[in-house]
Symmetry: C3
Subunit: 405 residues, 3 copies
């Protein structure tokens, strides 16, 4: 036998000798039952909880979405402060483009005919004055409405206030109507078109480009139905046309209350999808929630309003604007959701974790066997051997370590 | 030997006695090969699939992005219905701010000179009338255009309809041009600036604040190139300036078709990044898709349009508006992506799962050894010992359980 | 014993016989210490790193958010080029609705009195001409300002340029003020209201609908404080009112610099939450960053600007517009964050991975025992048995494989 052959064989032995644990078989039905039962519990967790309930074998992805909205409806207002007026969608829907966030005007403080000029400030403790000395020229009161000119003018017959340079006449927004001007807005409807996609699962196959995305107008719906339907959780859960009053009341609010000072309302579309071919399920689920804080305790400027203006030019070329403080409901369409689809990595990871727990099962069974069974001493003696350090062992034959004469 | 010493030693034995399984070495090359081969397969999965293909050792984070857009181009229209008109970006780009969603007007129904007044409804089965009795005063037909005054008026010489209070004259949107008014819009270009960041990986180090974010204008691009380039998937894949016609045609649509009734087009920017220093890769990838449903089967209001108005005041102070029903293409810049970077937890979890599977390998080898090998009985007898319940075993010496005389 | 009973008993033995590895106990404190120490390291990693630092036992979810903003402040401008003018929020805040992205105008190039007409192009190498032959009628120069009429006109007394059909007079945007027009804008303040929710953790319990969402106006803040406070990282970290100058300077920029050509500034609100009842923590954290590229090297159109117009009608009915090229700062409120809450699946997966590593510990101890210890030969002989292939073994008694006479 040459040296290299021996070396090679040694290597082969090192690599291919298979070392397997010696085992002791214990024919006890109680120990066996504990073993199998523990195993069963682990498997139950894996199959039942991880696979069925949590679907942990799935890869997930977040939704990408586009929203188009279209409000419909008109109203006629005839209140004492204002001329009779007809309102259509162009008048009350801002911005007009119909994206995921749209505003429906419900109440308004209008200040027509504002020009760049001078006028007496609205009276409040910091603006009232006795004579010009009380008004510092150029002073810019952050809570005021303009730059002081240094004069003290009559605001009314009883009170004098500092004159300011501003858009005059100043807006008096305390005269907000108690009943919302566009109370009829509760009967306006909105059509929401929403198309979503899950990029991780769909963008791979170029050919299946169109089927990969989904719309909230489901495929079994025809256009005749769409022309007349109205969303109702029980009777028409798939109709994408919503009556504003219905949205607000599902959010637990009263439309007329909310319309006075405005607010923000979320139209939440949940697109949680299961994309596995067994159990495919991918439908939108609508919920509605008020998103702003209506409690006035720790709230600045409760409700929702903003100011905008329509600018005109007089025949003489002077710029005039109609200032509009618009109160109303902003509807935010919020699309969210997670899609799950079978994925190898999460499956392997979860199986691996389960296997780890399976490898704990013998420990449990061993513990039971060695502490709770009557014959535990017998088992213990036969299972574990204490190291024999007697020198005679070392002189024993190599091939059979034990079993010496 | 005192009691406490014994107790202490017992405890030391309990804690530090090392219990190792006894093993049987089987010098069979076939069993060894099965063992090593199975081991190899598991390792291949771990290294090849989990690490290289899926990069499961990475932590992931979702992108945060800001988009600025700027449309360029102008057009001149000269059709019979309308005065000759020059259109620049201010006229056709709505909203003007240039954020992630911008609209390019391509077709239009204009109704100039609307005032709050009374006029006869557009004729349709529910609005035609014979005399005033057919028109209920104050009735608000949701599919009509205003509040009925109760009168029946001549709409034309042949048909009489109920009079309504509304913005008159009413819009007649059936006269939509068959060929898009701004057909030239296909040659408009848009510059998209997009800057992204991955908060989980970048916000930690304050100093590296700027390099932590990325832009779609890559660092090797200079401003001379940017002034003349135009995106082309083959020749200029990094140029952030897109011709509208090119976007639409890459989405598989025809611009002129789409321009007539409008639509929604997604400019998808995929920022899937690998942030590990080996194999760093983080570039935007552009794709284009039509996002609205162009099939008229289950579709209400196909295409994309919205109404807005320009408000004027006459010399007499009366409010007049030009109502514009704008058809066009809304471009939504949708930025998505996931960045991955080496993370300890996912690495450990995936290694752990792989180890669990490695611990299955001996089972496979054992099974092979005990069922498929010729010498399976020999192996089985030497590997497993059946519990010996004879009383003589109990009387055997404690130190060496087996190997009795 | 009937056959079926035997078969049944065989099956019971197969299922319930418990096979446990035989072990060798080694009373060596050094091996035991290596074993326990390695075990301790793994446990330390699991408890310390995975649980405490990384909170890997948590399920995570991404934030859903709504933002409302309200800018306050006014300014007065009096520069030579323009009439003295008072600016309030309606004039400089675009769009007015106050959503998550708002623009504050700081500099402006105004071109009043534009009408659809003809005028000479702005002079540059491609527009100057000698006579009409240099100007092709109908030519649409993408870098020009209109459609050429074919005439060559005097632009000034020294230069002649091609006449174009456009909105005339043309905008001359090179006259941008060096010092920002609305320099005072640095003292404007913005109130940001942000309400968020984590759908995975909160939408389950219908009753807890309101507490499930959180606001950046924390519950311990009262409205008196809100009326006067101003955000400051040290003294008022919870105040939702921000001075624009402060935002810009925290982003490391100078407001006056940025105001001249505009820019995009991110107000990042980090809502990283820990929702476990031990250690609950869920507060907004504000950071500010400039999002556009201010370096002019590889940048087209640095800064941020857009054009919009105010449309008027003259007494004769002609449409006139004031073109406004608005430079300013766009503030993007970007809300991000991940909430974590104890979840069974991630806990099990991470525990499983840790267990896998624990199962590696005996390998380490075995390796140490069999290579580094003096008595390694003794250990090796007693631990591993080489397969005995002698025929006498086969004839040995079945019950005790080894140690026969």
């Amino acid at each position: 036998m040459s040296k290299s052959t021996g070396c090679c064989q040694g290597f082969l032995h090192y690599v291919f000798d298979y070392e397997t644990p010696k085992t002791l078989i214990i024919p006890s039905i109680r120990v066996g039952f504990v073993f199998r039962f523990t195993q069963f519990l682990v498997l139950l967790y894996v199959v039942g909880y991880v696979c069925v309930v949590q679907k942990a074998y799935q890869e997930t992805d977040s939704v990408i979405s586009t929203v188009t909205t279209k409000v419909k409806g008109f109203a006629f207002t005839n209140i004492s402060d204002m001329e009779p007026r007809f309102w259509d969608v162009v008048d009350y829907n801002i911005p007009p483009q119909g994206d995921g966030s749209f505003f429906v005007l419900t109440n308004v403080v209008m200040t027509p005919g504002q020009t760049q000029s001078r006028c007496a400030e609205l009276p409040n403790p910091s603006t009232t004055c006795e004579d010009d000395c009380d008004c510092v020229e150029g002073y810019n009161d952050p809570r005021g409405n303009g730059i002081r000119t240094g004069l003290c003018e009559n605001y009314s017959s009883i009170v004098k206030t500092c004159e300011v340079l501003s858009w005059c006449p100043l807006e008096i927004d305390t005269k907000l109507p108690k009943r919302a001007l566009l109370a009829e807005a509760e009967n306006f409807t909105v059509l929401i078109k929403n198309s979503i996609t899950y990029p991780k699962f769909n963008f791979h196959n170029k050919n299946a480009c169109l089927p990969s995305s989904r719309r909230n107008i489901l495929s079994h719906i025809n256009s005749t139905y769409l022309k007349t339907c109205e969303f109702n959780r029980k009777t028409d859960p798939d109709c994408p046309i919503f009556r504003l009053k219905h949205i607000v009341s599902e959010a637990g609010e009263d439309f007329q209350d909310m319309a006075v000072k405005g607010g923000v309302l979320g139209i939440l579309i949940d697109w949680s999808c299961n994309l596995d071919w067994w159990g495919r399920k991918c439908y939108p689920k609508y919920t509605f929630r008020r998103l702003d804080n209506k409690h006035p305790d720790n709230n600045v400027a409760p409700g929702y309003n903003f100011r905008f203006a329509k600018y005109y030019r007089t025949a003489e070329g002077e710029e005039v604007r109609t200032l509009i403080k618009a109160y109303g409901i902003r509807f935010d369409v919020i699309v969210f959701g997670t899609a799950g689809k079978f994925g190898i990595v999460p499956t392997i990871v979860n199986l691996g974790a389960a296997l780890s727990f399976l490898s704990l099962v013998p420990m449990v069974a061993d513990w039971f066997m060695l502490t709770c069974m009557k014959k535990r001493d017998l088992y213990s003696r036969q299972k574990s051997t204490y190291l024999v350090e007697e020198s005679e062992v070392e002189s024993a034959s190599m091939s059979t370590t034990y079993g010496t004469q």
